[in-house]
């Protein structure tokens, strides 16, 4: 057993770990998930409605080429370098259907936030633009050149669908309706 002094510090450490738990839950509830936190995957929710139907958002990526042809590119091809768990998050955040953003107030709290978390505020400001920015467009062009080196893409459409899985049916049936489109026009030269 460690000496009396170190014993005290060790007990203090255990106490800190215990006290930290409600603090991190409160923090997450107020500000969203931060990193690092002592959190494991949640798989929150049952994802189903009262009828037992499951609604899931999926995306289909359509690429039009300068020669008029169009093809569908699987998300796992466009984001092949990224671990599979990240793909849906990236597609939703970067190429999700445009939504009406609430304008941020330029109050003291917002200024304090911009001072404390410049990266966080900058990323939110970028996502508030309804159009895909030039940097992202260049990235798409570069990726499509890697995938299709002999062709020049002119437009990419991210077609978002909501798929309803009727889990009570046997076998499970699916109905689909379109929930939004994000269109990215690429450089014409």
């Amino acid at each position: 057993m460690p000496s009396h002094g170190s014993t005290f510090h060790v007990k203090l450490l255990f106490l800190a770990v215990i006290i930290w738990q409600p603090i991190q839950y409160a923090f997450e509830a107020k500000f969203g998930e931060a990193y690092p936190l002592l959190q494991l995957p949640k798989f929150r929710g049952t994802l189903t409605d009262r009828a037992g139907d499951l609604s899931l958002d999926t995306v289909k990526i359509e690429v039009s080429f300068a020669d008029g042809a169009a093809i569908t590119v699987p998300p796992e091809a466009l984001l092949s370098q990224v671990p599979s768990a990240y793909r849906q998050a990236i597609l939703t955040r970067m190429f999700g259907p445009p939504i009406q953003r609430v304008a941020t107030k330029d109050d003291s709290w917002h200024r304090a936030k911009a001072f404390l978390f410049p990266g966080y505020v900058a990323s939110r400001a970028r996502s508030a633009h309804p159009e895909v920015d030039a940097e992202t467009r260049r990235w798409i062009e570069k990726r499509l050149l890697v995938l299709y080196p002999d062709r020049r893409a002119s437009k990419v459409r991210f077609l978002w669908n909501t798929d309803n899985y009727h889990t009570a049916a046997s076998p499970i049936t699916v109905t689909r309706h379109q929930s939004g489109i994000r269109e990215v026009t690429l450089a014409s030269k």
Binding site: M1, P2, T7, V10, K11, L13, F14, V17, Q21, Y25, F31, E33, A34, Y35, P36, L37, L38, Q39, L40, P41, K42, F43, R44, G45, T46, L47, T48, G52, L54, L56, T58, P74, P75, E76, V82, P83, S84, A85, Y86, R87, A89, I90, R93, M94, F117, P118, G119, Y120, A122, S123, R126, S127, D133, E135, T136, R138, W139, Y165, T167, I172
Partner: protein, 369 residues
């Protein structure tokens, strides 16, 4: 000194007491997993422009507004390889543990700046917490050549790791409980299986077969089982013996998820390994040979040779990639073939432990190892 089994002091300083040889073997297994399964990591991050930068609240949101260059990630990986090799051979173990934990954390901060946080926090917590233990004093360069001293290790870092594991698992259970997983009319596992297959694109034949099962009782049982496994850790953390059973069941649980959902969550298996009694290998003929072979390898590896190996592996990993990963990815149909192998290994160890516990259930438990 007689101490109350249920006292806080007993839990912190005695319940998780183990021997240095067990911790030494655990250190080797942990470092080998990081080196051969995990690294190199996050080299893809710098392929994205800053417009993709979406940090969570944390160090990257405070200090940066974009991603660093590829050279930073190359340097980071090279340093991680060196730290892991030093940890593997137990050279300046405490420093290597700290360094590895810090660099894994640094790399994760960037990788998690895409709007998605992976929950592999235990890969960082293990070397951080275990740096306060004596996991570098056996089967290591740090070990004195002639050491007939006390083989008992400090118990509190392992108890702390157990408490952190229990709270971590509870953080997965609570959101499920409050969001309807226990509702008798919902089938949460089935819903997540469908989402995982058709949205995340991780559909395999086992998932396809499972989705054909129409029994509500089957799916509801899986919901209850999942929440029970995750919540149980906190209820049994005071008893090392029960905690080990929870870890063993969780190993089988993770293999089940890996096989059905292709979510290969092997970093958690690394922390469960801290509570196993690896010194049992020393009394087993095959295990003993392996341990002796490792001991001979450690004697061969002076610090300068470990450094040379680090340089060689850095060049190989950063120039060509992880060769083991390339080979297994070709032959094993999983998103992370090496991780799946770790899950299978963990499940086999868990089965052996559970079988042994059932057979020897009546034998008094030896708390030392």
């Amino acid at each position: 000194m007689h101490q109350n089994k249920w006292s806080v002091d007993h839990f912190i300083f005695h319940e998780y007491a183990t021997c240095n040889s067990s911790l030494g073997i655990y250190r080797v297994l942990f470092a080998a997993c990081v080196l051969f399964v995990y690294l190199p990591e996050h080299l893809w991050v710098s392929e994205f422009p800053n417009s993709f930068f979406t940090p969570p609240i944390g160090p990257t949101a405070i200090l940066f507004t974009g991603f660093p260059s590829l050279w930073i990630f190359r340097a980071l990986n090279a340093l991680e390889i060196f730290a892991t090799i030093f940890l593997l051979f137990g050279y300046r173990t405490r420093f290597a543990s700290f360094a590895l934990a810090s660099m894994l954390f640094f790399g994760n901060c960037w990788a998690f700046s895409f709007g998605k946080i992976d929950h592999d926090i235990f890969m960082i917590l293990v070397p951080l917490v275990m740096s306060f233990s004596s996991w570098g004093t056996a089967y290591s360069i740090d070990a004195a050549p002639i050491d007939a001293g006390d083989d008992s290790a400090s118990a509190w870092p392992i108890a702390l790791l157990a408490l952190l594991t229990a709270f971590g698992m509870m953080s997965a259970a609570i959101p499920k409980v409050v969001s309807g997983w226990l509702n008798p009319h919902s089938h949460a596992v089935l819903a997540h299986l469908i989402k995982n297959a058709f949205v995340e694109g991780r559909l395999n034949w086992i998932a396809t077969e499972l989705m054909g099962i129409r029994s509500g009782l089957f799916w509801k049982s899986l919901d209850y089982f999942t929440v029970t496994v995750e919540a149980s850790f906190l209820f049994v953390v005071r008893s090392r013996r029960s905690f080990r059973v929870a870890c063993a069941v969780a190993c089988l649980f993770h293999l089940g998820i890996a096989l059905t959902m292709d979510i290969i969550y092997w970093p958690n298996l690394l922390v469960y390994g801290a509570f196993a009694n690896w010194s049992v290998l020393e009394s087993n003929s095959i295990g003993n040979r392996l341990v002796r072979l490792w001991q001979a390898t450690v004697l061969f590896f002076s610090p300068s040779r470990a450094f040379a190996l680090g340089s060689l592996l850095s060049m190989l990993y950063l120039g060509f990639g992880n060769p083991l990963r390339k080979i297994t990815d070709r032959f094993v149909p999983a998103s992370d073939a090496l991780g799946l192998i770790v899950c299978i290994f963990g499940a086999l160890v868990a089965l052996a432990f559970l079988a042994n516990s059932l057979i020897r259930g009546a034998v008094p438990y030896r708390p030392r190892c």
